[in-house]
């Protein structure tokens, strides 16, 4: 399986994980009934993939509209995985998209990015 694709719902984000091209994105709302059930398999699969990756160019796009505090734990874990992949010799770009007037979403991105040393981080503001 080289891609994982899940359509977004009112409460869960659209997922597009393209393992062959190392392009990943989460987009939309995230306040699932059961965070572990929604994200568990995705995180495991991504961690497995990144563990063996060297010299790749990887891009992860976060396009959240809203996420709850349980999702924030998952995002923290994703940032850790991405930083590790970068330190292991991959070129990692993390794009954090937010609506231009969404101060909180911008700040959350900045806070998550504080732990990134090797991976590149971009804040991308778009029309609301």
């Amino acid at each position: 399986m080289t891609t994982m694709q899940v359509d977004g719902t009112d409460r869960t984000p659209g997922v597009a994980f393209d393992f062959a091209n190392n392009r990943f994105s989460l987009a939309g709302e995230s306040y699932p009934e059961d965070v572990a059930m929604f994200y568990g398999a995705l995180l495991n699969r991504l961690a497995e993939h990144l563990a063996g990756l060297r010299g790749a160019e990887l891009q992860f796009d976060f396009r959240f509209i809203y996420f709850n505090s349980s999702t924030a734990k998952v995002v923290m874990r994703l940032f850790e995985l991405l930083e590790q992949a970068s330190q292991a010799g991959n070129t990692v770009v993390v794009n954090w998209h937010h609506e231009e007037d969404d101060d909180n979403m911008r700040e959350m991105g900045e806070e998550f990015a504080e732990d990134l040393q090797s991976a590149r981080f971009n804040l991308i503001s778009g029309p609301a």
């Binding site: 306040y31 505090s69 924030a72 969404d102 909180n104 806070e111």
Partner: protein, 184 residues
């Protein structure tokens, strides 16, 4: 209950600035439905978008707290593990032109001291300290003695731009009623 009883009840709610309230079993379906309604109402009222976002976030964190932790529950033996329904009260309203979100639910009396200590501690943190605690908690490296502040309450404290209050009322030997009210 008929109109002559419900009308004064409704007026009493309105006099307290209550825009929306729900008392009963809180399920994920209720969260989804009321959440969508709150979003529509904010859009129609052209509420400032950052206020609307904060209000929605406070609503989700408080509802999910009740759904996960209310000590008053009923387990319906449906297929599989069954469905657990927990009881709670949600109030969304406005006081002096500012929104608030409040929830009430039963908690075990033995948990009251921990919960009170926890919330008091969060209440006394400034923005930077809340940010740091949020971060530590997300990473699962909350220092010993911090009583394991739930990330939901910390998030709530960060989103409640005008602070939050909480209270307890003992019900019987085993249960106490807990309320939390966050202001934007």
């Amino acid at each position: 209950m008929h109109a002559h009883e419900l009308l004064p009840f409704r007026r009493d709610l309105e006099d307290r600035g209550i825009i929306l309230c729900y008392n009963g079993y809180m399920t994920e379906e209720v969260l989804t439905g009321i959440g969508a309604t709150i979003k529509h109402k904010m859009a129609v009222d052209k509420t400032d978008k950052n206020v609307a976002r904060s209000l929605f976030s406070l609503f989700v964190e408080q509802m999910q707290n009740v759904i996960r932790y209310s000590a008053e529950k009923e387990i319906l033996p449906l297929e599989g593990a069954g469905v657990t329904m927990r009881h709670g009260l949600l109030v969304v309203g406005m006081e002096s032109d500012h929104y608030f979100v409040a929830c009430g639910n039963m908690v075990d009396r033995k948990d009251v001291d921990t919960l009170r200590d926890n919330l008091t501690r969060i209440q006394n943190l400034d923005r930077e300290e809340l940010k740091a605690l949020f971060r530590h908690t997300l990473k699962g490296e909350t220092p010993a003695g911090s009583l394991g502040a739930g990330v939901g309450f910390i998030d709530m404290a960060r989103r409640a731009t005008r602070g939050f209050e909480f209270d307890f009322a003992d019900v019987d030997d085993a249960l106490s009623y807990f309320s939390i009210k966050a202001y934007i």
